[in-house]
Amino acid sequence: MSKIFHAAAGMGRKLQGQALVAKDGFSARYDLDRIKGVFSRPEHKLAGESYVGRVLVLDAAKGGVATAWMLYEMQSRGVMPAALVLNAVNPIMVQGVALADFTMISGFDCDITQAIPTGAMVEIDPTAERPFIRLL
């Protein structure tokens, strides 16, 4: 039986993808080389890893306000993760996801970065009555 984890809130579309997981934060300005599509902050646990097309499973939204624009800009060039799955969001991440028409779920009863292994195929459904991520 597949394992399912329910989120407090979600936005966007149902999709499947491969998870990229770390117990670390997320900020488009602080953490990414948005041209190359990789994590670029040396201290980030995913430094050097490509995020393009991956379901990012991370701890908390970090950093400043730029992500609210940057997700839209990244989406326009197609250099973008497939979805964001976070233990804790900040308003900026929600605002950016809303503008970019992107997919995100957040808020779990467990630490989601410990529940999903990197490389796992997952399904996300933010449109469900109780949004969820499921290990396939």
Partner: protein
């Protein structure tokens, strides 16, 4: 650094916005906005706000008196500028903001762009963004220190601030009420005159969630920034409200600015209290619910020194010195000028301020003193919001000294190796060919 972690409510469970996640109540006017009565820009804006408010558990809207938009073109990109231009082409009555709406720093200082090797395409994109904003009725203040230069908010005033440093200063030092409002949401607030009522617009969210005791009241701005960075890391996410206990004097506005900016940067924190100092925490009990057990931490001078030294590791020479993030107040400009008097910077030294401070700095001779010593004064931009990666590549900049903990936190991702030093040590380095003493 000692921690007394009380299990109680875990950080993850504490973010229980789902429990509040139902539809927002709309007034007749808000329903008319949603129906398109005021045109497509306002219609988009309120729809965007409803999406955000619903996700974050807002029950209704709250009127706001001012909005502040972060929208440098490195963040906007071509796609974001084109998006703004679509609204700017609407008829006049459908496109103008309805409350005072101002801007965060731009992506360049046009007068000095050549010194930074900013490219013509960057300047063109900036001009297009500025034209679009002006068409929307937005005041191009280009500053992240509007609380020092434009109009500080009043305790209890609901605002829509689009810069983390502005938000945390307004909330904490002034007692105003704002969440982080990214560019699209701050613009929405300008267009609708309101924002979803969640987070720091609510009394219950403004209570402390952790206590930080310190026996060391910083002296230098960079020490305040380091303290903010440490507390930010301890806090961990947006929904945490640290209360600092033990500060033994009232900090200056610049000290609060550096502390708050770093706290917001490292922790994504939007509100702090300082017992006996900030307006909502005249007594610690004012911000700590009696039935709530909070985690607590001790932070001392050794922690601050360790934090600073962690950034200087392996750096003996820097390529440039930057004073920015936040923009410098007139007092900071004066301090930089005094430190440079009679000396000569032999590597680039950038002192970045607001368009409101710059004319005063010119009039009082501060700009001339800094530039006579080899420094460069820039205004209306901020270093990290001004194509930092491209500047590094074009100028061969890699190692950088700054007294801003916020800047230190950001620039690693742009390929820089930052050293976090006092203002005096930064100037020493600039006058010693970049060599760190």
């Amino acid at each position: 650094m000692a921690s007394g972690l009380h299990p109680g409510k875990g950080r993850i469970a504490a973010v229980n916005y789902a429990a509040l996640n139902f539809g927002m109540r709309l007034t007749d006017q808000e329903q008319a906005m949603r129906a398109g009565t005021f045109g497509p820009a306002v219609q988009w804006a309120i729809e965007h706000q409803i999406k955000v408010g619903t996700y974050l558990g807002a029950e209704d809207f709250v009127p706001v008196t001012q909005a502040h938009i972060m929208a440098d073109t490195e963040s906007l990109g071509v796609a974001g500028v084109e998006w703004l231009e679509r609204w700017a082409r609407l008829p006049d009555k459908q496109r103008r903001v309805r409350i005072p709406t101002i801007t965060d720093p731009r992506g360049t200082d046009f007068a000095s762009a050549h010194k930074l090797k900013h490219q013509p395409w960057m300047l063109d994109l900036e001009r297009r963004a500025i034209a679009a904003f002006e068409s929307l009725g937005i005041l191009m203040t280009d500053t992240c220190i509007n609380y020092q230069t434009i109009m500080a908010p009043v305790r209890g005033e609901h605002c829509a601030y689009g810069d983390t440093g502005v938000t945390i200063y307004g909330n904490s030092v002034c007692g105003a009420r704002s969440n982080f409002e990214g560019g699209p949401s701050a613009l929405s607030a300008g267009l609708t005159g309101r924002t979803p009522r969640y987070g720091y617009h609510l009394d219950e969210r403004r209570q402390a969630t952790l206590i930080v005791h310190t026996d060391f009241t910083p002296r230098e701005l960079t020490d305040w920034g380091a303290l903010g960075g440490i507390v930010g890391r301890l806090a961990g996410d947006y929904w945490q409200v640290p209360a600092l206990v033990g500060v033994d004097r009232v900090p200056t506005s610049d000290e609060m600015k550096h502390f708050g900016a770093a706290l917001a940067s490292y922790g994504s924190v939007a509100l702090f209290h300082m017992a006996g100092i900030t307006p909502e925490a005249q007594r610690l009990d004012d911000v700590v619910a009696s039935d709530r057990e909070l985690r607590s931490h001790d932070v001392g001078e050794a922690d601050i020194r360790a934090f600073q030294e962690s950034y200087a590791k392996g750096i003996d020479t820097v390529d440039l010195v930057v004073f920015s993030a936040p923009q410098l107040s007139l007092v900071e400009m004066s301090e930089v000028a005094a430190l440079l008097d009679g000396r000569r910077a032999t590597i680039p030294l950038l002192a970045i301020t607001s368009p409101q401070v710059k004319p005063d700095a010119d009039r009082m001779g501060l700009t001339a003193r800094i530039e006579a010593a080899g420094g460069t004064v820039l205004s209306g931009m901020c270093f990290y919001q001004s194509y930092a990666r491209e500047m590094a590549e074009a100028n061969g900049w890699k190692k950088l000294a700054t007294n801003s903990a916020k800047l230190t936190n950001i620039l690693g991702g742009y390929g820089y190796q930052p050293a976090l030093l006092s203002m005096a040590r930064c100037v020493e380095a600039a006058c010693a060919g970049g060599k760190l003493a």
